[in-house]
C-alpha cells in the first residue's frame, strides 16, 4: 500500500524528470531548425521563405561564404549549414535516412560518390544536369564518378588535384634552374639528390599525400597508363598489381631507402602538419602534394599541372567534394537551384578559388585563373583521375586497409613491391565482393 510519503516521493520524481527534460530540450530547440523536430522541416508552407538544410564535411571552409552569397542572390531561400565529422559522415547520413529526415543537400567527399549513388539514396538529376549550359565544361572525371548506368546522381562542386611543386630557392642553391622542373620520376630522384647535398637540414623530396600516398602516388601510375580498378559493378576487381603501379611503388621504395624522402612521425608515415610546415619553411626540395599547402606563399614555389610518371606524362588525383540531393528532401527544387548555382555561378567559382579549391567548371576556372600558379591548378584537373569503386573507403582510404598496409610495407619496410601489390589486390577484391554482397 503506497503511503502518503511514497506518493509524494513519486510525485517529486516525476517532477524532477519533467524538469530536466525541458532544460535540455529548450536550448537545442531555440536555434531555428535544430532540435528534436529534425532537420529539413521548414516553415514556408504558404509560398513564403524556404529553409534548406545543407551538410558539409568538417573543415570545409568555402561553403559558408558560398552559401552567404547564394542567399543574397536568391532572396526567399535560406540555407542552414551543418558541418559533419568526416569519419561519421556516411553513418549519420544513414541515420537521418532511417529517422526519416534527410538534409536537402549533401556536400561530401568525392570518393563516396559511387557508394551513395549505388545505394539508391540520391535523387536522379540526369535531366537537369545535362540541361545545364556549362555541362560540357564540368570536370569529366567528376561527372563520371557520380554516374551509375548513365544516370547522374551527384555533381562536383569543389575540386583539387595533386601536383608537383618545388622550392625555387633550393633549386638555385643546388645549381638547378628554378623554371625547369624534373619531367620524369628518374629526374625527380636526380634533382632531389642534388638538393639534399646542399645542406644538413634539407630533404630532397617529400610527399604529403594521404594514406599510403594515394593522392600523390596514384598519378605516377596513371601517367604510365595503369588503372586501379576495372569498371564498377559486381564484377569489379582491383588491378593494383598492374606493372606501372608496381613500378610506382618501387620508385617510392627506392626514394625512401636512399634517404631522400622526408621522415615524418605519423603512424603509417602519413605526413600531416609537420610535413607541410617543413615544406613551407623551405626545408624540402621537391614536393608532391596539393596546392592548398602553399596558400599565401605561392611565389616561392614552382608548380606543374600534375605529377610525372616514368616517361614524361603528367597525371593527377582528382579530389574534392561532390554534392547531391538526397531522396526524401522536402525541397528538391530549391535544392537543385542551389546545386546549379554551386556548379555554374561565377561568384561561387570565385569563392572556391579564394578558399583554395577549384570550381568544377573548368572553363570558368581557367578564366578566373590569373597567373601561372592558378592556371596549373586547373590544368591538373584536366588530367585528373579518380579510382571509382563502392569499396574505395575500405580498400584505399582505410589506414589499415589493403592498399595502405601493403604499399607501406613495400615502401617503408622493404617488402617486394610486386608481391605486396598482388597481396593488396587479393585483399581488395575480397572487400569489393563484400561490399556488393551488402547491397543485396
Amino acid at each position: 500500500m503506497a503511503s502518503p510519503t511514497s506518493r509524494r516521493v513519486i510525485a517529486a520524481l516525476a517532477a524532477g524528470l519533467l524538469l530536466s527534460g525541458p532544460l535540455a530540450a529548450c536550448s537545442s530547440g531555440s536555434d531555428g531548425s535544430s532540435g528534436s523536430t529534425g532537420s529539413g522541416t521548414s516553415d514556408g508552407g504558404s509560398g513564403g521563405e524556404v529553409t534548406l538544410t545543407v551538410w558539409a564535411r568538417d573543415g570545409d571552409n568555402s561553403m559558408e561564404d558560398q552559401l552567404d552569397a547564394f542567399e543574397k542572390a536568391h532572396p526567399g531561400i535560406k540555407v542552414e549549414l551543418s558541418l559533419v565529422s568526416n569519419d561519421q559522415y556516411l553513418t549519420k547520413f544513414a541515420n537521418s535516412i532511417r529517422a526519416g529526415s534527410v538534409p536537402d543537400l549533401i556536400n561530401f567527399d568525392i570518393i563516396n560518390a559511387p557508394l551513395l549513388a549505388t545505394q539508391g539514396q540520391l535523387m536522379d538529376i540526369t535531366e537537369q544536369s545535362r540541361a545545364l549550359a556549362n555541362f560540357d565544361q564540368l570536370a569529366p572525371a567528376g561527372i563520371e564518378v557520380g554516374t551509375i548506368d548513365d544516370a547522374i546522381y551527384s555533381l562536383p562542386v569543389a575540386l583539387t588535384g595533386s601536383q608537383m611543386f618545388w622550392n625555387k630557392a633550393l633549386f638555385e642553391a643546388a645549381g638547378l634552374d628554378p623554371e625547369t622542373p624534373p619531367t620524369t620520376l628518374a629526374e625527380v630522384k636526380e634533382f632531389a639528390e642534388k638538393i639534399q647535398a646542399t645542406g644538413d637540414d634539407v630533404t630532397g623530396f617529400s610527399t604529403i599525400g594521404g594514406t599510403g600516398q594515394a593522392f600523390t602516388g596514384f598519378p605516377s601510375g596513371w601517367a604510365d597508363g595503369a588503372t586501379l580498378f576495372t569498371e564498377p559493378g559486381p564484377d569489379q576487381v582491383a588491378t593494383f598489381a598492374d606493372p606501372a603501379m608496381v613500378a610506382m611503388v618501387a620508385w617510392y621504395q627506392d626514394m625512401w631507402s636512399s634517404g631522400l624522402m622526408q621522415v615524418t612521425d605519423e603512424p603509417n608515415q602519413d605526413p600531416g602538419n609537420v610535413g607541410s610546415q617543413n615544406a613551407l619553411a623551405g626545408k624540402v626540395g621537391i614536393m608532391f602534394t596539393g596546392a592548398n599547402v602553399f596558400a599565401g606563399a605561392e611565389d616561392q614555389f614552382g608548380s606543374a599541372p600534375g605529377i610525372p610518371g616514368h616517361d614524361g606524362t603528367l597525371a593527377s588525383f582528382l579530389g574534392g567534394n561532390q554534392a547531391a540531393i538526397p531522396l526524401g528532401s522536402k525541397h528538391p527544387e530549391e535544392a537543385w537551384t542551389l546545386l546549379e548555382w554551386l556548379v555554374s555561378d561565377e561568384e561561387a567559382a570565385r569563392i572556391n578559388g579564394e578558399a583554395g579549391w577549384i570550381a568544377p567548371d573548368l572553363a570558368l576556372a581557367q578564366e578566373l585563373a590569373q597567373d601561372e600558379w592558378a592556371s596549373n591548378r586547373v590544368g591538373s584537373l584536366a588530367v585528373g583521375e579518380l579510382p571509382v569503386s563502392i569499396a574505395y573507403f575500405a580498400t584505399i582510404n582505410d589506414p589499415n586497409g589493403p592498399w595502405a598496409q601493403n604499399s607501406q610495407a613495400a615502401i617503408f619496410q622493404g617488402a617486394d613491391p610486386e608481391t605486396s601489390m598482388t597481396q593488396a589486390q587479393e585483399q581488395a577484391n575480397q572487400l569489393i565482393r563484400d561490399a556488393y554482397s551488402q547491397l543485396g
Binding site: 500500500m1 503506497a2 503511503s3 510519503t5 511514497s6 516521493v9 513519486i10 520524481l13 524532477g16 524528470l17 569519419d87 561519421q88 556516411l90 553513418t91 547520413f93 544513414a94 535516412i97 551513395l116 545505394q119 539508391g120 539514396q121 621522415v263 615524418t264 612521425d265 605519423e266 603512424p267 603509417n268 608515415q269 609537420v274 573507403f393 575500405a394 582505410d398 589506414p399 589499415n400 586497409g401 598496409q405 607501406q408 610495407a409 572487400l431 563484400d434 561490399a435 554482397s437 551488402q438 547491397l439 543485396g440
Partner: protein, 315 residues
C-alpha cells in the same frame, strides 16, 4: 610476533546488515518507485540497444539499404577471423601490462598522499588532475608533446643525452605501445589512488602505532596490516581497471589509428572499423557482443573472488 588485526573496517557492529534488516518495514512499492527512473533509463538506453545489437548480429546489415537475416554466419566468421583474434590479443597484452603497473603506481601515490596538510593536498590534486581531462584531449596533447624533433619530450630526451631527439613515437608499434601505456597511467591512476587512499585512511591509527611500537618496519606494516585491510578497495579497483582497459579505444584511435599495419589495433577498434569503415553493421554487432561476453566472464570471475572475501569477513 603476533600482530592482531581487526577483521573488517567499516561502520561498527555490522550496521549495514542491521540497516537493511530494519528497513524491511518500508513499503516495497516505494522501493520500486525510487529505483524506477534509473531502471527506466537503463532499460530504454541500455537493455533495448543491447537486444537490438543481438538482433543485428544475426543479419547482414548494410549501412544504407535492406538488411538480410543470415543466421549465425557473423559468428562463424568471427571465430575464423584472424585479425579479430590479433586485436583481442593486443587488447589482452595491453591490459596485462598496464593494470599491474597502474595499480602499483596508484598504490604508491596513495601512500604518498594519504596524510594531511596543505602540501599533501597540493600533491594529491596534482596527481588527480589528469583524470579530469577528456581522453581525446589528452591524446592530442600527447601527440603534440611527442612529435619527433620538436615535441617537448624529445627535446628533453635529447638534452639529457638519451636519444637524438628524432624518435618518432608512433611509427613503431613497440614505442607507440609504451608511450600509450605511460599516457594511460598518467591519465587514470588518480581514481584508483583516491579509492585506495580512502581505504588506507580508514585503517585505525592505533593498529599501525601498536605495530610500530612492537618494532615492525614500514614494509612489514604495509604488507601485513594496511594491505589486508584495503583488500576490498583494491579488488574494486582491479575489477574496474581490467574491464576498462580491455575496452580501450580512444588513445589508440587518436594516436596510432591502429597502425602501423594494424599492429596496435585493439578489440574495440576492430569492431568500430567493421561498423563505421567497412559498414558491416551486422558483423560489427556480433563482434561487440563477443567482446562483451569475454569481459563479462572475466568480471564475474573476479567478483566471485571478491565475494569469497566478503563471506569470509562476515563471519
Amino acid at each position: 610476533m603476533a600482530i592482531t588485526v581487526p577483521s573488517r573496517v567499516g561502520p561498527p557492529g555490522g550496521a549495514t546488515a542491521r540497516a537493511r534488516r530494519g528497513a524491511r518495514r518500508r513499503s516495497s512499492v516505494l522501493g520500486y518507485a525510487m529505483v524506477a527512473p534509473a531502471l527506466l533509463l537503463s532499460v530504454v538506453f541500455f537493455v533495448v540497444p543491447m537486444v537490438l545489437l543481438a538482433v543485428m548480429s544475426f543479419y547482414n546489415w548494410p549501412l544504407l539499404g535492406v538488411a538480410r537475416p543470415i543466421g549465425i554466419d557473423n559468428y562463424t566468421r568471427a571465430f575464423q577471423d584472424e585479425t579479430f583474434f590479433r586485436a583481442l590479443g593486443f587488447s589482452a597484452l595491453f591490459t596485462v601490462v598496464l593494470v599491474p603497473l597502474s595499480m602499483a603506481v596508484s598504490y604508491a601515490a596513495a601512500v604518498m598522499v594519504r596524510g594531511t596538510g596543505a602540501f599533501v593536498s597540493f600533491v594529491r590534486t596534482a596527481f588527480f588532475m589528469p583524470v579530469v581531462i577528456g581522453f581525446t584531449a589528452a591524446a592530442y596533447m600527447a601527440s603534440v608533446m611527442l612529435m619527433s624533433g620538436t615535441g617537448i619530450i624529445n627535446v628533453l630526451l635529447r638534452a639529457l643525452g638519451l636519444t637524438d631527439g628524432q624518435t618518432a613515437w608512433f611509427t613503431d608499434a613497440d614505442r607507440a605501445f609504451w608511450a600509450i601505456v605511460v599516457l594511460t597511467i598518467w591519465k587514470s591512476m588518480g581514481v584508483a589512488m583516491i579509492l585506495l587512499m580512502a581505504g588506507m585512511q580508514a585503517v585505525p591509527g592505533e593498529v599501525t602505532d601498536a605495530a610500530k611500537i612492537d618494532g615492525a618496519g614500514w614494509w612489514r606494516r604495509e604488507g601485513s596490516i594496511v594491505f589486508p585491510l584495503i583488500r576490498r578497495q583494491f579488488a574494486l579497483c582491479l575489477v574496474l581497471a581490467l574491464s576498462g582497459t580491455l575496452l580501450v579505444f580512444d588513445q589508440f584511435f587518436v594516436l596510432t589509428k591502429g597502425g602501423p599495419s594494424g599492429a596496435t589495433t585493439t578489440a574495440v577498434m576492430y569492431t568500430y572499423s567493421q561498423s563505421f569503415v567497412r559498414y558491416n553493421l551486422g558483423y560489427g554487432a556480433a563482434l561487440s557482443l563477443i567482446v562483451t561476453a569475454i569481459i563479462l566472464v572475466i568480471a564475474l570471475v573476479q567478483l566471485r573472488v571478491l565475494r569469497a572475501d566478503r563471506a569470509e569477513e562476515a563471519r
